[in-house]
Amino acid sequence: MSIEIIIDGESVTTEAGTNLVDVAAENGVYIPTLCYLKGKPCLGTCRVCSVRVNGHIIAACTLPVSEGMNVEVNAPDLLDMRKALIEILFVEGNHNCPSCEKSGRCDLQATGYELGMVVSRFPYRFPLREREVAAKHLWLERDRCIFCQRCVEFIRDKATDQKIFSIRGRGTTAQIEIDIALADRMPPEQVREAAEICPVGCIIEKGVGFNDPIGQRKFEIQSVRERALDIKDSAAESGHE
């Protein structure tokens, strides 16, 4: 059913039930995301896509649009709030971009650039979370995990559909875990998918490091905003139609 909603004062016609992040992108309005993957069930974990709908703050990826919604995306307070959310993620882990294999291909880093983060307003915590290197084809740099749960939900054992990744513990002691036996059964393309689906440098494919030269890395070729707004290209890029 065709409906009308308002995004930042502009009237937009779309289909009822479409995801708000997608509706905004189709109309040239960038809403940053870290856990959301177009075409996959919504996770709603990172909250970086928070916008104001009819006066209430809500994560846009969790919201199917309906008639008459008044959506504010780029109000100054919302821009600052989303930037604060990114800054929180940067201090909660150890996001040492200069030494990270994912640099230039990292959604968190690219989103930081896009939101204009130059420093975090929060104190850096420098947590120590042991890395997990037991699996044959990939390892976990746990202090980079932002608990988006993309890997937990979308990377499953091909034969049994069991989860390979999981989160153990709560709060500051939570950490990402991997089922070694299941992980060692992952075919190479699934290993690569797991590494790519990770929006930070937590899941790293063994034997693959700083492959692309500086200047030719994923988000240097096309920024995260351009990818988000260029619907066709970004779908082809991530392989999720």
Binding site: N96, Y113, V118, V119, F126, I214
Partner: protein, 209 residues
């Protein structure tokens, strides 16, 4: 600006030939800029010089009191703009940073180390004693028949328990991330500020690595 005392002598208090009055007058008109390194690798200070010939275009307006070329410990007079490279990892860094804050109108963190601690802050994950033991006592390159010693002398600045970003020690006005930031990025910030434009790092040149 510091004055020498009985324990230390600053270069600007040493006897020197007076500068040509015309040159001095011309220089007094200019915006004074300085850059110093704390706990970093001096890569960001080199990035300042990576402005290359673009620097010449700024020299009508600015004069650089301290850089890698003029390796003085303290700036001899108040500066409009101070760039800081490196985080705070020892007592000398604290003293230098406070001195710069007191003598610069605008203070800018340049590079990952100044902004959040950078590579030196990797030691923040462990206790300082573990870090020093790893480096000096249990080091794989320790001399086998020597008594392991963690260096200590009153002339060696005492190391801080953790590495701190500059803004956790003094107020910093602006931040240029990067490891190091490009010379062109530092140039843009400097050019904006001396021409009265606001600080602005668009996504296209903002880098954390």
């Amino acid at each position: 600006m510091s004055k020498s005392n009985k324990n230390q002598t600053y270069s600007h208090d040493l006897p020197a030939t007076p500068m040509d009055p015309d040159l001095q007058a011309a220089r007094d008109e200019k915006i004074k800029v300085a850059m110093i390194g704390l706990c970093g690798c001096w890569g960001c200070t080199l990035s300042l010089l990576d402005m290359d010939e673009a620097l010449l275009g700024l020299l009508d307006k600015v004069t650089i009191l301290r850089s890698s070329f003029t390796d003085i410990k303290r700036i001899p007079e108040r500066c409009a703009i101070g760039f800081i490279e490196g985080g705070v990892a020892n007592e000398e860094n604290v003293e230098t940073l406070i001195e710069f804050r007191e003598n610069c109108d605008i203070l800018i963190s340049v590079g990952a180390c100044a902004v959040w601690g950078g590579v030196p802050a990797m030691r923040n994950e462990v206790q300082l004693s573990d870090c020093l033991n790893e480096a000096y006592v249990d080091s794989v390159t320790a001399v086998s028949d020597a008594i392991p010693t963690i260096p200590y002398h009153e002339d060696i600045p005492r190391i801080t328990g953790k590495v701190f970003p500059c803004h956790e020690v003094v107020k910093m006005d602006y931040f240029i991330p990067g490891c190091p930031p490009e010379g062109a990025t530092i140039l843009k910030v400097l050019d904006d500020l001396i021409n009265g434009r606001p600080f602005d790092l668009p996504a296209s040149i903002n880098r954390y690595d």
